[in-house]
């Protein structure tokens, strides 16, 4: 299993539509400095620096090569990762490998994206992940894929359009309490239902924004973590699961289900003795790129029975003061600087465990949390974080 690894420092920039006052290097630098400050260390204490972002969202090949002074990676070992939406989670996993292996004690991981720099053409860049020979001409980016999730769920459970709107209103309310979130919207269910259709049945207000921002985390070995902080958050376990990106060729498999999410949940829950996740885990920061994804994927992650997730939203179970809060940060629906997004899930879950989330701290006591990553190649990272060592 390797050495035990803790989160000991967390830093985020504000996530916004545009950061015109700083370039990408400077954006990374802000998150890195904040994480180091939170860990009460300096760059000299860091053994390795890992970077993550998506080349085509800024048109930068090898972003890590030009951001060295910002990340603090000068003459330090490190990697650059680019795994789509999962990038931030892949970096947490990779940071874990670096520390758990015993190779390094303290690792700084930084995820960032400046989607403003592709001028609103994020979808166009996403499309280039599709096979150019068979799928690219028909690809509609994340919006199309998430529209299929929504259409399939509504078709299967005949729940109408309202649940998607209820989830979106919840996310917006949480985001208003989170100073770092991008969209600050006061929304009603009718606002969502009246918003423009992008791809039927997905509406503009169902969909995540295109954000610019960065997130950084300091990971440390057990020995170092215990010396560095009174509030380490332990990465108890995680699972990474890959799947075929385009399920259509595998028909008649059910189309909407994210099998990599289910697969990762089965493995993670089994290894950690979790039979009733809503009782045994306190909350979930899910990678929810659209309101309907939060509903459909709670089921794919085996949090509740099929056809039940939309009722959880209606009953307020997943609200900030609910029994099983989901995305108290406002989630990806409110903030999506893609290379940082999955890391923000882990960071936000860790802040909840520390009790440091501030305005969007959930009502219940948080001793454990799940955090997930979703990426364009339909792969999944699922993390289990805990306040205490087992």
């Amino acid at each position: 299993m390797g050495r035990r690894v803790a989160i000991v420092g967390i830093g985020q920039t504000l996530h916004k539509k545009r950061h015109i006052d700083r370039n990408h290097t400077e954006l990374i630098n802000e998150a890195a400095r904040k994480a180091l400050q939170d860990a009460e260390i300096t760059i000299e204490d860091v053994d390795a620096v890992l970077n993550g972002n998506m080349d085509l969202f800024e048109g930068h090949n090898l972003m890590d090569a030009m951001t060295v002074e910002g990340s603090g990676a000068y003459m330090k070992p490190g990697l650059k990762m680019n795994t789509g939406g999962t990038t931030g989670g892949t970096m947490v996993a990779s940071g874990w490998y670096h520390v758990a292996s015993g190779k390094y004690d303290v690792v700084l991981i930084i995820g960032s994206e400046k989607l403003e720099e592709s001028g609103g053409n994020t979808t166009s860049a996403i499309i280039t992940c599709a096979d150019p020979l068979t799928l690219r001409p028909y690809h509609t980016g994340a919006v199309g894929a998430l529209a299929i999730v929504a259409a399939s769920y509504m078709n299967q459970y005949r729940c109408g359009e309202e649940p998607g709107a209820i989830v979106r209103v919840k996310a917006a309310g949480n985001a208003l309490k989170n100073p770092y979130s991008h969209l600050k919207l006061t929304l009603t269910v009718d606002d969502v239902l009246d918003s423009a259709i992008l791809i039927w049945p997905l509406r503009l207000l169902h969909m995540c924004p295109q954000s610019s921002g960065a997130c950084a985390i300091v990971l440390a070995s057990e020995e170092k973590a215990k010396k560095m902080t009174k509030k380490p958050v332990w990465i108890t376990d995680f699972v990474t699961s890959h799947m075929e990106a385009w399920r259509a060729t595998f028909a008649p498999d059910p189309i909407p289900s994210m099998q990599s999410q289910t697969d990762s949940a089965i493995k993670l829950f089994k290894r950690n003795g979790i039979t009733n996740p809503m009782k045994q885990v306190d909350m979930f920061e899910m990678y929810d790129p659209a309101a309907w994804a939060e509903i459909a994927w709670l089921e794919d992650f085996l949090i509740c029975e099929k056809g039940e997730a939309w009722k959880l939203a209606e009953k307020g179970v997943t609200a900030l003061d609910g029994a099983f809060p989901v995305n108290p940060s406002g989630g990806v629906q409110s903030t999506n600087p893609i290379g940082a997004t999955a890391m923000i899930r882990v960071a936000e879950a860790a802040l909840q465990i520390r009790g440091d989330a501030g305005g969007h701290q959930v009502t219940k006591n948080v001793n454990s949390a799940l955090a997930s990553s979703f990426g364009g190649a339909n792969w999944t990272n699922l993390f289990l974080l805990k306040k205490n060592l087992d």
């Binding site: 700083r22 370039n23 630098n29 048109g59 720099e117």
Partner: protein
């Protein structure tokens, strides 16, 4: 034995990726570009801890991770530290071939600036030769507001 799957000729399919981008220069680099555009001045930034002057300027010192805010105005002239001559043309090249790229250490700077050489016999470029900037007539807050460097008198 199953029948082999062989096409008459393997196909390869043409495609392209064409996407627009725009980059925020950031506060530090913007100041450099505006000085270049508006007053043909070259600014550097000094790290007081490492006593290094960076041109182009940056926010963080590469060596000590410290924030820098001490601005230095340079003459603009410098010395060729290294160079290469490009002898083929590409649409993305800033000049028609043959032309020369050089690393130029500006007087008063500790880093080298990558730029172009012009008004020069390509066969007579030498490491150590003194060069001076030639400014573009239509400056746009771009590093190409210096059109190129030429041998200094």
């Amino acid at each position: 034995m199953s029948q082999e799957t062989k096409p008459k000729a393997p196909l390869s399919i043409e495609g392209a990726i064409i996407l627009p981008y725009r980059y925020a220069a950031g506060g530090v680099m913007s100041r450099f570009l505006i000085a270049l555009r508006d007053s043909k001045k070259t600014l550097g930034i000094r790290c007081s801890r490492c006593n290094m002057v960076y041109v182009p300027p940056r926010e963080t010192c590469l060596h000590c991770f410290g924030r820098m805010d001490e601005w230095v105005e340079l003459e603009g002239s410098g010395t060729v530290e290294s160079y290469t001559v490009v002898r083929y043309s590409l649409p993305v090249h800033p000049m028609a071939a043959p032309f020369a790229f050089a690393l130029i250490k500006l007087d008063g700077a500790d880093t080298s600036l990558t730029h172009l050489l012009g008004e020069i016999d390509l066969e007579k470029i030498k490491v150590g030769m003194k060069v001076e900037p030639v400014y573009s007539e239509s400056r746009k807050a771009s590093i190409l507001d210096i059109s190129y460097f030429r041998p200094a008198n």
